[in-house]
Symmetry: C2
Subunit: 118 residues, 2 copies
Amino acid sequence: MKAINLTDKLARFASHWDPHVVADYNDNDVMVVKIKGEYPFHKHDTTDDFFFVLEGEIIIDIEDQPSHTVKAGELFVIPKGVVHRPRAAEEAKVLLIEPKGEPNSGDSDREASPKPRL
Amino acid sequence: MKAINLTDKLARFASHWDPHVVADYNDNDVMVVKIKGEYPFHKHDTTDDFFFVLEGEIIIDIEDQPSHTVKAGELFVIPKGVVHRPRAAEEAKVLLIEPKGEPNSGDSDREASPKPRL
């Protein structure tokens, strides 16, 4: 048990779309990720997807619906089964929560990230 | 679906130790809470307890172990079964995640909070 400083953790890697595990909450990975550019549209059939923006801002595009801008200090939960695409014009830093074993790429063709632990 | 601004949500109540639900993540309540003073020692037998400090700082006392200071931008997960007590000398604002139906007071004698939705 210890306090986990997210700024310190984020300083330890530079890659985008490469979530790193910083803590466990029940059967979930609590992760930090740096986002820049756009990810493929995808969905998670069995889980919601939790985003909390720590720095910068992201856009969540939702299939057939308006997009949402999510700024630092704001959270957004994408319900299971909803097709979505996160993107960011400039680098943004995000806290993510997903069940252990869930590929961050959902049902898309993109290879899932390994989710290393920091 | 919408972006949830935690500062806006926290501005809507003044009470301490009174978590308010701002979002759902799978079967969990995502909540904001204002902390000042000290809570009773307690544990949650079937779930971890997730704290992310948004503003100020808190102390997590752990039974028979050193205490932990958790500052803004830091998270702390108390594993299930671990007896703990959050406290704060000055008001702090915290993001909490707990399974729906879990009393925030755990196994203590303190009455559980109603966790209203904002």
